[in-house]
């Protein structure tokens, strides 16, 4: 039994799930290849946290959907067009600067988003957000810290980091762009207004970029579409790799 409201709520939670899942999937590819061994451990921690968040969101999205799909059915048996993550998190790892900048821009958004969701009228959403918020505090501290170290490090590190900022900036607009689903969730006290997060987010970005001696890019066209399932080409490869086994042997359990 679904209604437009239930559908929208399932979509809403699925977006949160896919953000965490795709970023976790990206980050776990670093393990064994990090710039310093201590960082292998740290990146694994962040990836594990996000994976844990994704599983909680997915389980709830599956319940709201009411079609009997569990976390694995949702993670492994949806195609690119059915994924609802923002474009930013599916962008390739690139070098350590690109991974750091992508992480920072997302972690900071997640900090504001989860703070709002922690007060959601939907208790499940509020509960997951409260748990995720604690993990996010650690992720943000780390990514902001690295952003500053790389930006204010050597000339090479600053150039790499500024390049990553310039490449990724176009994917930040979507974080603050609401649609019907957002509006409905906000009107019911379940979600928040994406637009309202922009100013506090930008203010903090300016502060940390200034500390990191990085430049905030000038206004430019912002890419969009992830929340509606229109992705960059990168996501197809992410999913092909992640989903290969359950797709190859759909009748198997693991």
């Amino acid at each position: 039994m679904t209604t437009p409201f239930l559908d929208a709520r399932a979509q809403y939670v699925l977006r949160l799930a896919d953000n965490a899942l795709v970023l976790a999937q990206r980050l776990c590819a670093w393990i064994g290849h990090a710039p310093v061994m201590e960082e292998d451990v740290a990146l694994a921690n962040v990836s594990l946290d996000l994976l844990g968040q994704a599983r909680l969101w997915l389980a709830y999205a599956g319940e709201l959907e009411g079609a009997g799909r569990d976390e694995d059915a949702l993670a492994y048996h949806r195609d690119v067009r059915e994924f609802r993550n923002v474009l930013l998190v599916e962008r390739p790892n690139g070098d350590f600067a690109a991974t750091t900048v992508r992480g920072y821009l997302y972690d900071l958004w997640a900090h504001f988003a989860l703070s709002e969701l922690a007060r959601s009228k939907d208790d499940r959403i509020a509960g997951i957000a409260q748990k995720a918020l604690k993990e996010n505090a650690y992720h943000l501290r780390r990514s902001e810290d690295w952003l500053v170290r790389l930006g204010d490090g050597t000339q090479e590190s600053r150039e790499r980091t500024q390049r990553a900022v310039n490449d990724l900036w176009r994917y930040t607009g979507e974080l603050f762009l609401g649609d019907d689903v957002d509006a409905l969730m906000q009107s019911r006290g379940i979600g928040f207004s994406p637009e309202a997060l922009l100013d506090p987010w930008l203010e903090r970005v300016r502060e940390s970029f200034s500390t990191a001696t990085l430049e905030v890019p000038a206004d430019a066209w912002m890419q969009r579409g992830g929340k509606q399932g229109v992705h960059t080409e990168a996501l197809g490869y992410v999913l092909a790799e992640m989903q290969v086994l359950p797709r190859a042997m759909p009748e198997a359990t693991w």
């Binding site: 201590e38 451990v41 740290a42 921690n45 501290r141 810290d145």
Partner: protein, 94 residues
């Protein structure tokens, strides 16, 4: 090879009421990073409520060749230990 990050000694307090205990070392560019890395490396399984990091070169230790002179003089002063004293039968609360 580029320059190495300094080595840090890590001390973890496992719960309130216990002292910080040396658990090992790691490498980090500065103290803040050492604390972050220590959190990730040495408290992955809820092992700690507090962490100290000390740059390894700041740890001063006794030269083992002086250990005898350092510690043995206290060995013959048994009267510092309560077991040195005879307590007569029937005497309590001593």
């Amino acid at each position: 090879m580029s320059e190495s990050w300094p080595q840090w000694e890590i001390f973890v307090r496992s719960e309130a009421g216990l002292a910080h205990k040396h658990v090992g070392s790691l490498h980090a560019a500065d103290a803040r990073m050492a604390l972050e890395n220590a959190r990730d490396l040495y408290t992955r399984r809820n092992e700690g409520v507090s962490i100290w990091v000390v740059e390894s070169t700041d740890v001063h230790a006794i030269d083992p060749s002086e250990a005898e002179a350092f510690f043995e003089p206290s060995q013959d002063k048994q009267y510092r230990h309560p077991t040195f004293y005879h307590v007569p039968d029937g005497v309590k609360h001593l």
